[in-house]
Amino acid sequence: MEDALLSVKNLSVVFKTTSGTVQAVDDVSFDVKEGEIFALVGESGCGKSTTAMSIMRLVPKNCTITGGQIIFRGKDLVKLKEKEMSSVRGKEIGMIFQNPLDSLNPVYPVGIQVSEAVLLDRVPRDEAWKKVVEIFKDVKIPDPAERVRSYPHELSGGMRQRVMIAMMLSRNPKLLIADEPTTALDVTIQAQILEIIKDLKDTFGTSILVITHDFGIVAELADRVAVMYAGKIVEIGSVLQIFEKPRHPYTQLLMEALPKITKKQGRLKTIPGSVPNLYELPAGCSFHPRCPKSMEICSKIAPQLKKAGEGHFFLCHREG
């Protein structure tokens, strides 16, 4: 692998609400290398989306980045002025969301909206239009010359997500952040979109940061994975390391708690309790109240990342 395209270092993000202050992202560090697909995976409230939004600097008003750096191609995005940041957005880092309908303007044909993005690069109008049709072909939209004239509501969910990818692709960014890109889609459509995302990496060399709660998508797509729990990365490694030799008890338990499509199995193992409330995080290791291997120290001192193998780290007092 080449150098890191994006390097998140010790990122901390805090939310202020009427009920108190919440540490949504706590000392999170990871790299996204050139031409790889990196997945941030975790359950609701684990901080994966906040991390993604912090990279784009699109966090809500009551949310502040309190520490750390986000180095992207030599620039620290945390320190950039808003004006500089807006030229990074779209042009250098593209983003697609769970619900593309929220991001598309209902009153313009989708081709026009994608061409707006192309026109930002100061190309002549007719050339821009040709390029849009070309990109629609790249994301495998059938009848691209016809579809550019469609309005968002005339398209299916899968087609809209393709349009979003096309719009993103038109600026040719180095990094694509995909936040739950297929969660709203059916299985057969999801498979199509995942193929397109893989193609992006293979054909254009785009690096991709996938945010998801679905371990199936991670297994299908990612080169490397970080598992998040209660604002922290608890395990990070290659996709094979995470799925075949997980070391953190949370990852290990999740792998056994997930029903497999490949076989009819006996009773699933379960993880007791539920995802912790960020307002009342347990002391020490956040996972210790649910952890079958917890020791005395776990409830007192927060663990440090330990090395488990080449590029494989986990956050636990135990040896895994």
Partner: protein
């Protein structure tokens, strides 16, 4: 084994009208002639994507909506003809758990009030109610201290346990589970699935389990029906359907579903192209034909009937039996 539910070619169409004088615009054929039987003690998994009509089937079985044509039998009785005492008797023997746990409980009632309400309706005494509620919440592992709380004070997993407890207090024989875990976190999903399996064993419950999740349905089901655009395309035993699907849609669905093994990525896939067509103007003939790589002339012209191709393995495909998906399906 005794058959407990018979769904007999049931149809449900929605008319879309416009304006004061109800100009008839079009008809949505949400459920278009669905037949299957559920046997006592089994879990019948009904799988399909959005728009397949699986939730409408669930609502029909619970008599929450009336069919346009034909009917459903519960223990030999036509549920849509039942009235008064007979209907009440059917209602107490079946219950339902819904997808959205937060919306499944009355926000203005305490958890206790919600759980004990079915018992009050059927005239149980106060002392009986207390004993049954205590017993039931223990079975679903719902803490006693949660009984006096309101739904919004509970986590999603706890809300779903309360919903299951409410569905269980009347000791029903048959339960419809409509995506009971799809709104939950993965670490909570296994808890709920295991509870459902435990209570099924203990009370010899029969389940109709509706989901789009192919891993979950494999874990819980004995037999599976696959729905596509209002029709059942395949019914078989769970292992049979996963190891040798006969319908191209089932094969496509199975091969599209992500597995939990990164090494399985390079498998040969059968990707169904395009989107499901609209239910308003479904294609004539087989509804899969515009997306099916194996479609022939007959598929465009004739609607395939569900027929028994192997023992207990029913498929609605003109080419069933001649197609081989063994290179595509990996298990």
């Amino acid at each position: 084994m005794e058959t407990i539910v018979v769904i007999d070619n049931v149809k449900k169409f929605f008319n879309v009208t416009k304006g004061l004088f109800k100009k008839h615009l079009y008809q949505i054929r949400a459920v278009d002639g669905v037949s299957f039987e559920i046997k006592r003690g089994e879990t019948f998994g009904l799988v399909g994507e959005s728009g397949s009509g699986k939730t409408t089937v669930a609502r029909l079985v619970m008599r929450l909506t009336d069919p346009t044509e034909n009917t459903i039998f519960f223990k030999g009785k036509d549920i849509f003809k039942a009235k008064g005492k007979e209907l009440k008797d059917i209602r107490r023997r079946m219950s339902m758990v819904f997808q959205d746990p937060a919306a499944s409980l009355n926000p203005r009632a305490t958890i206790l009030d919600s759980i004990k309400r079915p018992l009050e309706i059927y005239g149980y005494k106060k002392s009986e109610i207390k004993a049954i509620v205590e017993d039931t919440i223990e079975k679903v592992a719902l803490g006693k201290e949660l009984l006096n709380r309101y739904p919004h004070q509970l986590s999603g997993g706890q809300q779903q346990r309360a919903s299951i407890a409410r569905a269980l207090v009347l000791k029903p024989e048959f339960m419809v589970l409509d995506e009971p875990t799809s709104a939950l976190d993965v670490s909570v999903q296994a808890q709920i699935l295991n509870i459902l399996l435990e209570i099924q064993e203990r009370y010899n419950l029969t389940y109709l389990f509706i989901t789009h999740n192919l891993s979950v349905v494999r874990y819980v089901s004995d037999r599976i029906g696959v729905m596509y655009l209002g029709k059942i395309v395949e019914i078989a035993q769970v292992d049979e359907i996963y190891s040798s699907p006969l319908h191209p849609y089932t094969a496509g669905l199975l091969s599209s579903a992500p597995s939990l093994s990164p090494r399985g990525r390079s498998r040969k896939k059968l990707l169904l192209s395009g989107d499901p067509p609209s239910l308003i103007n479904p294609p004539p003939g087989c509804r899969l034909y515009p997306r099916c790589p194996y479609a022939e002339k007959i598929c465009r012209e004739e609607i395939p009937e569900l027929r028994e191709v192997k023992t207990d393995h029913f498929v609605a495909c003109h080419r069933a039996g001649e197609l081989d998906f063994s290179g595509i399906v990996r298990w």
